[in-house]
Symmetry: C2
């Protein structure tokens, strides 16, 4: 099933704290995948990125990305969200803290840099679900 909307029947895949696989395009034309934590905001997906990371540089040059989530309880149930990306500042690190809490961690003690982050928003253009 394909549309540009995250279907309600698959909201759990993006609303539960599952690890997603975010793929960007490198300057060499190869896809590059990394594990990401993220949250859904209505029709969109948001994550927090350090601007020193290769995936940020890739998306700054080529603002498209794909997020893939596999249901850990049923590997035939998946969602793929292909979209365009945009970046914003994250005053006070509010989104970063929200994501860390969503994944059951304490932002005050979580061992990840808090500075130098931006909010990445993935605007879905094509959503493919299975299962």
């Amino acid at each position: 099933m394909t549309s540009a909307v995250i279907p309600e029947a698959h909201h759990d895949l993006v609303d539960m704290p599952h690890v997603g696989v975010l793929t960007t395009l490198g300057s060499d034309g190869r896809p590059q995948s990394t594990a990401v934590w993220f949250v859904r905001d209505g029709a969109e997906i948001r994550t927090s990125l350090l601007t020193t990371r290769q995936k940020y540089k890739n998306m700054a040059a080529h603002p498209k990305a794909t997020l893939f989530v596999l249901d850990p309880a049923n590997p035939f149930r998946t969602i793929e969200i292909r979209g365009d990306v945009s970046f914003e500042i994250d005053p006070g690190g509010a989104l970063f803290e929200r994501i860390v809490r969503h994944y059951g961690q304490d932002p005050d003690t979580f061992p990840a840099p808090k500075d130098g982050r931006v909010v990445l928003t993935l605007h879905p253009k094509r959503v493919v679900v299975n299962g």
Copy 2:
């Protein structure tokens, strides 16, 4: 850690029957990800593909792909294998049967088409591991 070789310490991620995420590049310049079953053959990764699938068409046009595997027991432990791809015929469906058995299924009863398949080999060019 990065090299063009799958490090021994992470062989389990590609030798256990974990579901991988294979990403190809669509003609619209967007990465496309799907769940795949696969096996390792020495330094290379092999999977079985139906030539009717979009990912096959994508790789026929742009013979590069990335396989990403997340350790289900530790989401901070991952492997990403970026490589070039090549295709061969699969006489008698031997590789397809091997993969289906590796994932604990019976090739005689597994509900997937047996005809119209090719062997995809992913030749690693850059391997990134975490954890």
